[in-house]
Symmetry: C2
Subunit: 495 residues, 2 copies
């Protein structure tokens, strides 16, 4: 009963052998060609596997080689741990250790990071693309089917407290996410999806999964470039593109008075709340914008607003996709009335099977099949979702999630610091940026703390400002009240 | 993991309340309106239910009231037993008894049949539409979700031997069938499906299920009418239509030199092998014909040929739908080489959970997850399926399946008959018609036997000819060789 489906790469190359699968710069690969490359790669990778290998990490930038690797690991039944190369080696080292991953594939441009990770973890075997491409081919049994309940990919996210957690995305999560999206956006013979978001994010990976499930070409960009993106959207080759707010702003700025080709039918806007003026500008220009709500734990979108409602429901993330359900739970643990805010809770077959090896976090996050996002929102009378706040304390900066707890933990690692609190401040360019507030036991300069953060945190997570205070706001239970940090900032301005 | 999905009627009316769901003659109902009618009906039907009722039979002609009833039974979690009103009351009586169904809903035009069924089965409670619509409303709990493994509908088919069997179609079978079809045919905002096939067949019921899963209007015809169908296909209102060969022939004949609207994108041709001249005519006229292969046990299509291959692969039923698999097994129980015929075996989440209360038949029909169709076919080098013969002895007449065993059993019930064999003979109008061969112990006229058949069999199943022979052809194991019956006919012609 739907617990297994055909190996989707083989099935797709069987059904649509000659359809383009991937376009990168001036090169095109059909599904048949992609399958052949992947099967060859899979046979090579098999030589590098030890019996106890259950996972392999991918440290790469968007590139066809990354696409082949993702599919080859699926063919081998190896779970892929996606590493964000913007993180520091300390952060990535934790992810490798936490997921007990001893095998890592990387591309040449990230050799320095890979080598550093190996230095810190002597058990780690690392191979660059040129290395693994020269491995001998090993005879392999072909997997006819995928088990929908098996883990396919792992991506790390952080919560309100504690260390980052590995989100397990099953084959079923990706399958149902793709199906839910198609039931909402439709599926057309001429569809092609522009992927200018990182493949190590669910926003990028989900495009690859849709490609093979739908039989749809993906235009892959190594990194986002607003001029290239605009020119593709004007060419008529692209029908759908995924963006975050910061990308959209830059695209509109460069676009000027022009607009996109009439066959471009969907600009899927995710990764955090969008400012109204930006949405209004799209509506004015007739750009078919679809606001969405989703996260790593939902394997991409779980709610999407369609353009026919875009103007009427500006600011809403739309309704649940067909296989999914959304409810709002108030402080009394009851379903909230329309327009009453509460915690957004989600249900559906696209939702993660759980955090890797975190029984306690899973117990907190799941309740009778519902996933508790921690995000705050409400539904109007017609059932349109409005997201007020991504997790009470989540900071979204240029589409990247920043978790205050993570920065606080780094700051607390500094000898001089007694307590630390981080919150997001509105920023015109990035949407939000992190500000830190600290109480120190002895004198320490902001510059020194900044330098300390840079060695432990990805650049985009380093606080833009570190403000010294007497003590941090806490409630009776001594829990840090991050929202109150903003008041300190107001006081500072006034003084 | 995909074992439950939202109650699809409620979810659809939540997501697309104002989209048209059903069009019948000059009336239109949106999904919201349909949901309201169904919820009211469901509350009324609940009053007629006894605790032990697990199933209810539907004896109706295509009509919105039948659509409401189908959805209302799903809301109530009652399995619907679909009765083909072209059958005799003897045949239907068997189906009711076999499925232990004691509740039957019918429309006024079929009152005579319903009353007769009740006469023969005093336990049966029968209600016509006007009766059940006046039942009091009973307060009900709403089913938020459907269990994909639960049986939704039951339709009877016959095998090569024995009594007809009830095919159980689960919610998951319908769901995956709809999804598999959409991944192949695509899904467009403007889609609408013309249903001129009976809702008591899987060809019709599957359109209703797609409608609610896709959010797509269905144009329902009470009965097929080639002129009405042609005019709808010329109007631009319809994008997809399901037909069987006999319907298509009549439509093309009436169409003359004209063709269909450019927005009409798919003529789905199922229900048995199609004659090549008919396919060629469609290709010539630019009619987007999609040959398919499917059956009650696969909850509609499992393979479909797309128009871009229609000419190149004329006569093929195409490739498996994405979630499904097809293999050809030869006489040595090994997978057949390309172009070598063998039994068509199928796998996928759209395949029946099994025949109702037939453990032996299920054991014969299923092997390690594969469903053995008994149909003969081959796959070419590219994996295109060619169906040579629907079950070695299945007769398809005007899109209706006729099982020789069923007719033989009736004939054997006549005092004069010692043995009986039935086979299909080519017929210009119906594709095939059944001919019977009998050996009699005492003299009996063809007319008398015809009359006897008419009282026990649907009109279309009554043999067009009953031919008396000395003895029937049998193999060493005394098994009837139905194919050899044709030789008798040749001999008769020659003599």
């Amino acid at each position: 009963m739907g617990e297994r489906i055909p190996n989707w790469l083989l099935q797709r190359s069987h059904i649509s052998p000659n359809k383009p699968a991937l376009i990168f710069e001036d090169q095109v690969w059909t599904f048949q060609e992609m399958k052949d490359i992947v099967q060859d790669l899979q046979a090579k990778l098999a030589s590098s596997l030890k019996e106890q290998d259950r996972r392999a990490a991918i440290l790469m930038k968007n590139h066809p080689k990354m696409v082949w690797l993702i599919h080859a690991l699926q063919q081998l039944g190896i779970e892929a741990v996606f590493l964000n190369h913007r993180l520091t080696t300390t952060e990535l080292g934790f992810q490798l250790q936490d997921s007990q991953t001893n095998l890592l594939f990387y591309d040449e441009t990230l050799a320095e990071m890979a080598n550093k990770l190996r230095e810190e973890n002597p058990q780690l075997r690392i191979y660059t693309t040129t290395q693994y491409e020269s491995f001998p081919n090993q005879q392999l049994e072909i997997r006819d089917e995928y088990d929908l309940a098996a883990t396919c990919s792992i991506m790390y996210t952080s919560g309100t407290t504690g260390k980052p957690k590995g989100v397990q995305q099953t084959y079923g999560n990706h399958w149902w996410s793709a199906i839910g999206s198609s039931l909402n956006l439709g599926l057309q013979e001429k569809d092609s999806w522009l992927c200018a978001v990182p493949l190590f994010h669910i926003s990028g990976l989900s495009i690859l999964m849709r490609s093979v499930i739908y039989g749809m070409p993906v235009y892959l960009m190594e990194q986002f470039d607003e001029e290239k993106a605009n020119s593709l959207l004007q060419s008529g080759q692209i029908t759908i593109m995924s963006v975050v707010t910061a990308m959209l702003s830059r695209m509109l700025e460069t676009l000027g008075m022009k607009t996109y080709h009439s066959s471009f039918r969907c600009l899927l806007l995710g990764g955090g709340p969008a400012p109204l003026p930006l949405l209004e500008k799209c509506v004015e220009k007739g750009i078919p914008i679809f606001q969405t709500y989703g996260m790593t734990e939902t394997a991409s979108q779980i709610a999407t607003l369609s353009p026919e409602d875009a103007f009427k429901k500006l600011g809403s993330a739309g309704k649940a996709l067909f296989p999914a359900q959304i409810r709002i739970i108030d402080e009394n643990n009851r379903e909230a009335a329309p327009n009453q805010p509460g915690e957004i809770q989600l249900k559906g077959p696209n939702i993660t099977s759980g955090y890797l090896a975190r029984p306690e976090a899973n117990q907190v996050a799941f309740e009778q099949g519902w996933f508790k996002t921690g995000d705050i929102g409400y539904m109007d009378e017609e059932g349109f979702l409005y997201v007020l706040d991504r997790r009470s304390d989540l900071i979204i900066s240029g589409g990247e999630n920043i978790y205050p707890a993570e920065i606080e933990e780094v700051l607390l690692g500094h000898d001089a610091i007694i307590e630390a609190g981080v919150t997001g401040i509105k920023d015109e360019k990035w949407g939000q940026v992190p500000y830190a507030f600290i109480a120190a036991r002895n004198s320490v300069s902001e510059a020194e703390l900044m330098q300390f953060c840079r060695t432990h945190l990805a650049a985009y997570k380093v606080p833009k400002k570190i403000i010294q205070v007497e003590a941090l706001p806490r409630n009776a239970a001594n829990k840090l009240l991050r929202r109150k940090l903003l008041e300190y900032l107001e006081q500072e301005k006034q003084s």
